[in-house]
Subunit: 203 residues, 2 copies
């Protein structure tokens, strides 16, 4: 068994670059590198330039911390969004997921993480001061806490609910329960217990 | 269902770039783009520059047509390789696969495709003239035809065996048969028929 020493150095570097991506093993990285080698010089130039200039082009939205190319992210720049509801998420990755769901028409606030005391991450490390400042502006009527449904996510939500409580502001938490379309037989016990505890009257 | 309009333009372009890769769908492209956004500016710059300069850095080996950063590919540059055996493959992708198998210590010749009359690809479109020139040098004792085991690959091998035949040159074809470690129950009929026809005496 030999290593793939038959590749030129530039191709080895290309493979190594792809291997740094999540879920990409040695063989996939090789396949991606060989595919990229078939791109036209223009495609390679454009994509390469895009990567090289990403740090200058993409930063954080000044208001909500979401990914932004300018001062403001596309959501904060959109006047059609409901300015009275802010959905609080841990990371910018979660914004597009919620956007796709179509379940939120308000604004976002990206914390930049979650409170994990064991890792030395406290409230002061998250963008909570910025969130408080937005609430101070008085326009916001509801804060939807969409941090994770695991222990740290719950702890972060509990902390925020306690610290940000104020008259005229509803603080809500996204529901935990059985995924839509899922068979009960495949639900884990923790989810099922939560779903049973959070049962609602029907009919 | 909304599109992910919450991404800045540069991130959308990044996602579109990754989507052009084989086996990468919309969600995977998004995941890869978000992962890349966490790279350091140095990593992004280096990888971006590598992509942009690929066309200048990676070309074809002057002798065998394999991927090469200089005039010669790593295999042709290696004096330890057996100069008397040339393995003929369709594309440069196949060289590392054979290298990893450890079954070939000679040189390569990359045809740059296969003969497919229906697509208008004839022998003159492949690097056959270059192969003939290498045989004319007189050092080569064996030509191992490792084109694909499908109809076009077989036809290409048959063509080469007929056209390149000369005294003192053995022309061989890699074996077709049951994959090592495979259960007969999962072998397709064509492979099984070939394996039976190509049976060899044992003991």
């Amino acid at each position: 068994m030999q290593s793939s020493s038959s590749y030129p150095e530039a191709v080895e570097q290309l493979i190594a670059g792809f291997r740094r991506l999540p879920g990409v093993g040695a063989r996939t990285a090789e396949r991606l590198a060989l595919a990229v080698l078939r791109w036209t010089p223009e495609e390679l130039h454009d994509f390469g330039l895009l990567l090289a200039t990403l740090p200058e082009r993409v930063g954080e939205c000044r208001v909500c911390g979401n990914l932004a190319e300018d001062d403001l992210c596309p959501v904060c720049r959109d006047p059609a969004r409901d300015q009275s509801i802010i959905c609080v998420v841990e990371n910018a990755d979660q914004v597009p997921v919620i956007e796709r769901s179509g379940g939120h028409r308000g604004l976002y606030h990206v914390l930049g993480g979650r409170i994990v005391p064991l890792d030395g991450i406290g409230p002061e490390d998250l963008r909570i001061g910025e969130l408080r400042a937005r609430l101070d502006s008085g326009e916001v009527r509801e804060l939807v806490l969409a941090t994770g449904s695991d222990i740290e996510g719950e702890a972060t939500a509990t902390y925020l609910a306690r610290e940000l409580r104020r008259p005229g502001l509803a603080i809500t938490r996204i529901a935990t329960g059985i995924p839509v379309g899922a068979d009960l037989a495949f639900a884990d016990s923790a989810t099922l217990a939560t779903a049973l505890n959070s049962r609602r009257p029907v009919g």
